[in-house]
């Protein structure tokens, strides 16, 4: 049923880069994209939580997707950006990405959902794979990226 309904619908993703891989973040969660700025470290928290930043007077926590996903730590370059996400449960949170590339619109039939049973460690951060001209895009499952480590 849901499959049928989904055909023809499109979703927009922002394509980001972490290392050589391209990832997609559903645009509806994105509040803002800002340049890398000074992050105030918060002591005694998990290592993937890099600290807090000041976004127009609001104090917003920032996390590293790389560390969370077990990749190499972030190396700050000119292209590094912080994507501010607005999530229902966790509120506003920033994630550090290597580069923001573009916005793509994917038809739902261009998206291959990842079945739940094939989840190994790294895949559990993904909710699907998108296919478009630029190659494959791993679509991030934000809830599992952002959720706190127990």
């Amino acid at each position: 049923m849901e499959e049928l309904k989904a055909v023809g619908e499109t979703t927009q993703f922002i394509v980001i880069k972490l290392g050589d891989e391209q990832y997609g973040i559903d645009i509806k969660y994105i509040d803002n994209i800002v340049r890398m700025q000074h992050i105030t470290r918060v002591p005694k928290v998990d290592d993937y939580l890099k600290g807090v930043i000041n976004l127009r007077g609001e104090v917003i926590p920032v996390m590293s997707i790389r560390i969370k996903m077990g990749l190499e730590p972030d190396v700050e370059t000119k292209a590094t950006r912080i994507i501010i996400l607005k999530l229902e449960q966790q509120g506003t949170i920033g994630v550090i990405v290597d580069e923001v590339k573009e916005v793509v619109t994917l038809d739902n039939d261009q998206i291959e959902r990842i079945a739940y049973d094939s989840k190994d460690d790294k895949d559990s951060f993904l909710c699907g794979i998108g296919k478009c001209d630029g190659g494959l895009i791993s679509l991030l499952d934000l809830n599992s990226v952002v959720i706190e480590n127990v």
Binding site: G57, V59, P61, I93
Partner: protein, 709 residues
């Protein structure tokens, strides 16, 4: 009619009235003949009834109606106030509160009719003086009958609708309506003299009446009524299918409406009467004496003339007008709007701080710039203070329910006690006042149940039989202190320790080494209760730890002082404001942290040689007190950039009686900071209570000194 938009106002007002009733009935118990009190009660009950009626809460209306009847009899001197009556009245208030709670939760009053209560009320009425009531009813009937039956010309005074001049269009509309078999009524609605928002009430009357029909014309015009350009009454011409009584009932059901009278309008006669009725108006007051008693209180101009006719009743009713408390000119504001305002002020202060540092950085700090910045600083500080003051409410609204509670406790516990309150006018942030009620209630119950001894024991010990509980509030610097004190038994630390051992909270060895203070602190341990019998008042073991956590959540602290045999006192300290504080900025490594100025005792410069080791912990001695050192760089995982041989900068902080020295690298200075939450996402770090944005846009974390000690 759709009343949901008034629900909030209704609930607020009902709460106020109930609280008022509680207080007044309590004082009535003390002085049963105080006419002012009785009148005040009557008014509150009357307003409640009207409000409940408007909102369509029939059960609530019924109950208040019967209460009002009782008061009206008391007021007329037909019933005297007795103890059992007070009890019944309190039960009624509880029932009303229950209705109110139901309404708040699901916009419905529930299905409890409270028939036994209504019956008791009626018993009081009948037992008191049945004749009087009948008489009054008869009188009311009579005057009602008069109002309906009397010739239009005779009482045109009240029937002002008769003097409305009908235009041709209106006449045409009315005739048309009549030909369609509808009724045309004229109404005159009287607003209570004490009513503040006459226009709003009139609007409600319009809405209520429009439920039943169409308002063709009003006098004064709808626009004038809306602008409050009318005295105490206004008249309407209505086309309706319904009975006149229904239309009148709808109008009367609006609260603060004194009365509504009306009748079928004879268009032709109205035309003739209109010019005749007008000049008659000045003589109306005299005729009004025959109107029902209810009208009298409000009809101020009528009062002198009416006095001889209405005799005793009249006298009593005149009083409220005279002794009516001065109504403050206030505006109800949603707390969210105030929060927004507070946030904006915070933004402004951050912007000011940025400006200061920008001016310093760019080197443009000429005298003129500095002067302006100082001026700006003054203004933002006063702005902040004013907004803070707006958010402050007296704790009275919370504590005023306690005398009643203590009175009830007296009965359930079978002990004699008296509650003395002072400082009810002390003001605190609205959110704090809302939250502080439960902890205070716990402490009071605790004092009543565990603290005070029974009358016999007290006698033996040479204390007055009636135990005293004190609730005192006062402002102390940047804090508000609320103290709950009793002259009871005090805390038996021995019993506390034994109980703690029994419960497995501490070992017997630990118990031996415990100081008095530590033993008392055991009381705040979760799941601790020393009451031998679990009573319905306290002793469920959920008391004091909840009190403590709640107060700490409000950034406050609890302190206990006790002397066995003489009583104990529980002291709650709360900060005046939660959002903006004065803080000391410090540097550790290359990170900046803020420490609330409120918790800082002194700042010391200590030579490394003065640091001693006790039980492998670093301590220093300052003016005969031993203070343990906390090296912040170790706790916060920062590399200190100071040479270990250099003198230490120690910020001495206190929590209650305990002191600790925080070692920092550098002091930056004092600053007014705006507290921002770190959000739910970073909640693991307990030593950080929040963050703030500095003048240069950087974020600095606020250290919670309390958790460090």
């Amino acid at each position: 009619m759709d009343v949901s938009q008034y629900l909030e106002i209704f609930l607020d007002e009902t709460n106020e009235h109930l609280q008022n009733l509680n207080t007044q009935i309590l004082s009535l118990e003390q002085e049963p003949d105080n006419m002012d009190t009785i009148n005040e009660i009557f008014r509150a009950a009357h307003s409640l009834k009207g409000m409940a009626g408007t909102m369509g809460y029939k059960r609530m209306q019924n109950l208040t109606h019967d209460m009002e009847n009782v008061f009206s009899e008391v007021r007329n001197g037909n019933i005297t106030v007795k103890a059992n009556m007070i009890d019944v009245l309190f039960q009624c208030l509880d029932a009303l509160e229950e209705y109110n709670a139901n309404i708040r939760e699901n916009a419905d009053e529930g299905t409890n009719d409270n028939e036994p209560l209504i019956k008791q009320l009626n018993d009081i009425l009948n037992g008191g003086d049945g004749d009087a009531e009948e008489e009054e009813e008869a009188a009311a009937d009579q005057s009602e009958g008069e109002a309906v039956a009397a010739e239009p010309a005779a009482d045109a005074g009240d029937r002002k609708w008769l003097s409305i001049n009908l235009g041709d269009t209106e006449k045409h509309v009315l005739k048309e309506a009549l030909s369609q078999g509808k009724n045309v009524y004229g109404l005159t609605v009287k607003v209570q003299e004490s009513c503040i928002l006459k226009a709003a009430r009139a609007f409600l009357v319009f809405k209520a009446v429009e439920e039943y029909g169409e308002i063709v014309l009003s006098s004064p015009s709808a626009q004038d009524i809306e602008d409050e350009k009318f005295e105490l009454d206004f008249s309407l011409i209505v086309i309706s299918d319904a009975e006149i009584d229904k239309v009148l009932g709808a109008a009367k059901s609006v609260s603060e409406i004194e009365d509504a009278i009306g009748d079928v309008l004879d268009i032709n006669r109205a035309e003739a009467a209109a010019p005749a009725a007008k000049p008659e108006q000045p003589s109306q007051p005299v005729e009004q004496t025959t109107a029902p008693a209810v009208a009298a209180a409000s009809a101020a101009p009528a009062a002198p003339a009416a006095k001889p006719a209405a005799k005793g009743k009249k006298k009593d009713e005149k009083k409220p007008a005279a002794s009516k408390p001065v109504v403050n000119r206030t505006v109800r504001v949603d707390i969210e709007k105030l929060d927004t305002l507070m946030n904006l002020v915070s933004e402004l202060i951050i912007a000011k701080n940025s400006l200061v540092s920008a001016a310093a950085a760019s080197g443009t700090s000429s005298a003129a710039v500095n002067e302006q910045i100082e001026y700006l600083e003054n203004t933002t500080t006063s702005l902040h203070e004013s907004v803070m003051k707006v958010r402050m409410v007296p704790i009275e609204s919370t504590v005023s329910k306690f005398p009643r509670m203590v009175r009830d406790l007296q009965k359930t516990l079978g002990k004699k006690m008296e509650l003395y309150m002072s400082g009810e006018e002390t003001e605190l942030d609205r959110t704090v006042v809302d939250e502080i009620g439960d902890p205070l209630m716990h402490l009071l119950r605790n004092s009543a149940d565990h603290g005070l001894e029974s009358a016999e024991v007290r006698k033996e010990r040479g204390k007055p039989e009636v135990g005293s509980i004190f609730l005192e509030a006062y402002q102390d610097g940047n804090n508000v202190v609320i103290e709950v004190r009793d002259d009871g038994n005090g805390i038996d630390t021995e019993a506390v320790r034994n109980k703690a051992i029994e419960k497995g909270i501490i070992t017997p060895e630990q118990a031996e080494n415990m100081s008095e203070k530590e033993s008392i602190d055991l009381l705040f341990h979760a799941g601790f209760s020393t009451a031998k019998v679990v009573s319905d008042v306290s002793g469920r073991g959920v008391g004091l730890d909840v009190v403590k956590s709640k107060i700490e959540a409000l950034s406050g602290e609890v302190e206990v002082k006790s002397k066995l045999g003489e009583g104990s006192s529980w002291i709650i300290r709360l900060p005046l404001t939660l959002a903006i504080i004065q803080a000391l900025m410090v540097e550790i490594g290359d990170e900046k942290y803020a420490i609330s100025l409120g918790s800082i005792q002194t700042i010391e410069d200590i030579s490394p040689d003065d640091v001693e080791l006790v039980q492998n912990k670093e301590v220093i001695q300052i003016r005969d007190s031993v203070i343990s050192l906390i090296r912040l760089n170790e706790i916060l995982d920062i590399d200190s950039k100071k040479d270990p041989k250099d003198n230490l900068v120690v910020v001495v902080v206190k929590k209650g009686d305990k002191l600790a020295g925080l070692v920092v690298d550098e002091l930056i200075g004092q600053q007014e900071i705006v507290i921002k939450s770190l959000g739910k996402y970073i909640s693991k770090c307990k030593i950080i209570s929040g963050a703030t944005v500095l003048g240069d846009g950087e974020v600095a974390l606020i250290l919670d000194a309390n958790t460090l000690i």
